[in-house]
Amino acid sequence: MTLTIALSKGRLLTGAEALFTKAGLAFPPQDTRRLIVEAGDLRFLFVKDMDVPVYVEYGVADAGICGSDVLFEAGSDVLVPLDLGFGRCRMVLAAHPSSGFAAAWPPTVRVATKYANVARAFFETRGLAAEIVKLQGSVEIAPGLGLADCIVDMVETGRTLRENGLDEVEEIAATSARLVVNRASDHIKRGEVAALIARLRACL
């Protein structure tokens, strides 16, 4: 029996490769455009980062690596046994300094974001009504152009925020790369899954 692992070619790939190599696990070469690659006794699927938990939830992949931001957003029913430690980022709420957001919220907040579910959940816990404008990227320009009052987005250094005239209002969550595991694989392929987790954990 062999395990299938879902990865995304995004910002977590280098960290994933370093970790797998350190753990003595096979890792696919990146000089190929194939999206399903076998390496050693593992099979790798390359998918969009938002889709990693989906492939794992449905059992198409036994395990995968994705950011906790993606997990919050996807809300998939998967196991998350390990924090892999790399790819640290922060999910924040940001707005123009002049908006006065930190002091008082408007009755209905209009928020631009790629992370619609995260944003909705955040405003719900504050008891605020939020109108979500779902964008695919470049959300930082939305407040300046009047598309939204604020944004919910990932920041690594905060430079993009600053250069677009936004201030961080609040950190919603600290995020990092997580190992996700399918519920059924955890039992049906118990030995392989346990070995994978143990080898990765030993390298953290």
């Binding site: 196991l79 998350v80 346990a194």
Partner: protein, 367 residues
């Protein structure tokens, strides 16, 4: 007038080979229930909304009765069966071995592969207490999977008492908001979130460490011996672990040991279950096909205190699993014999003769 031809989101519909395969699988599972001496109960399609488990409240499809009461389509069978056993069947002596097979309706957020309408087949052993009932239900569940034609499957066994006792000892009593968070995190095996949920809890350190360990360490979660060491000295966990120990010993002795595996992080919605809990997984399907457990407190709340244990299988998921496991359709359609005699009357006569011999026909009448 323009009529939308799609079915509403979440509604399900099966035809031809799919419908036939489902019917065949259902027949096999039901014959296992019947073979173990269970009698069928056909509960109502709807009841007062208050009948159903409060954890399902947000998923109910409710409507108003003609007298103004709030009714709901059944979201599961267990609460209905328990209510009927405590009411209408009060005079029938326990134990009651009952099985059911039918659709339930539960609102699920729109998402591929998730229907709001699905078919459950299950049994409730009311008045079934102690190890004998636990083993019986596990054995029936295993036979159902075998009868359906699934070869690669496993029952993950846990005990509601383990998680309950640890949460109590850790200082997260029932009604503490942290408790739900800890349970949900444990269900995802997320050690970081479990630790976060326990931050404010003032209970025993070992209990808190054991809870994080259950999420973090496959050893503690999957081995009763390791769990015993990790939970040493925490009251009433030992009892639950002993229950599971003797259950697995019995299953080994019965030759069923290879079909079960321990998973102590399993709790399946705590309010309801009081003892053994399990989920059934099959190779090739990413989610469980069914599960069950012991719920000794429910009937007492309805005024007929009886221990009880039950389990159910989702027909939709089971059919998917049978299909994926590569075995042929359980009941391929026989091609029908065409009936077209000289006259319409003779054709009918021939059709009836063939039908007496149980042949499958297609009636065409004279050419």
């Amino acid at each position: 007038m323009h009529m939308r031809l799609q079915l509403p989101q979440g509604a399900s519909c099966f035809t031809f080979g799919e419908a036939r395969a489902r019917r065949a699988i259902e027949a096999r599972v039901v014959s296992v229930f019947d073979g173990w001496g269970y009698d069928e109960i056909v509960p109502p399609l709807f009841d007062d909304a208050a009948t159903f488990d409060p954890t399902l409240a947000s998923k109910l499809y409710t409507f108003s009765g003609r007298d103004g009461t709030t009714l709901a389509l059944r979201p599961d069978f267990t609460s209905l069966v328990a209510k009927i056993a405590a009411g209408r069947l009060r005079q029938v002596e326990a134990p009651l071995r009952l099985y059911y097979s039918g659709e339930v309706v539960r609102y699920e957020p729109p998402r591929a592969g998730r229907q709001s309408e699905f078919h459950q087949m299950g049994l409730e052993f009311l008045g079934g207490g102690g190890p004998a009932a636990d083993v019986e239900v596990i054995a029936v569940a295993i036979e159902c999977m075998e009868a359906a034609g699934v070869e690669d499957f496993v029952l993950a066994l846990g005990h509601a008492g383990v998680v309950t006792a640890l949460l109590d000892a850790a200082g997260l009593p029932v009604d503490d908001s942290g408790r739900d968070e800890a349970l949900a995190s444990l269900n995802r095996r997320d050690p970081i979130a479990v630790a976060r949920a326990l931050e404010g809890a003032r209970g025993s350190g070992p209990a808190r460490r054991a809870l994080v360990g259950l999420a973090e360490d496959n050893g503690i979660r999957q081995s009763l011996d390791a769990a015993r060491i990790a939970c040493n000295g925490i009251e009433s966990v030992g009892e639950a672990l002993s229950d599971l120990e003797s259950l697995t010993r019995t299953l080994d002795e019965a030759g069923l040991g290879a079909r079960v595996a321990i998973d102590l992080s399993e709790s399946r919605g705590l309010d309801y279950y009081t003892g053994l809990v399990f989920r059934i997984y099959g190779g090739g399907l990413g989610f469980d096909v069914g599960g069950g457990g012991r719920y000794d407190a429910l009937l007492g709340r309805l005024g007929r205190p009886l221990p009880a244990i039950g389990f159910m299988l989702g027909l939709d998921r089971l059919a998917l699993l049978v299909d994926r496991s590569g075995s042929r359709s359980p009941e391929p359609a026989v091609s029908p014999v065409v009936v077209n005699a000289r006259t319409l009357g003779e054709s009918v006569r021939e059709a009836r003769e063939r039908r007496r011999r149980r042949e499958r026909i297609r009636f065409e009448g004279p050419a």
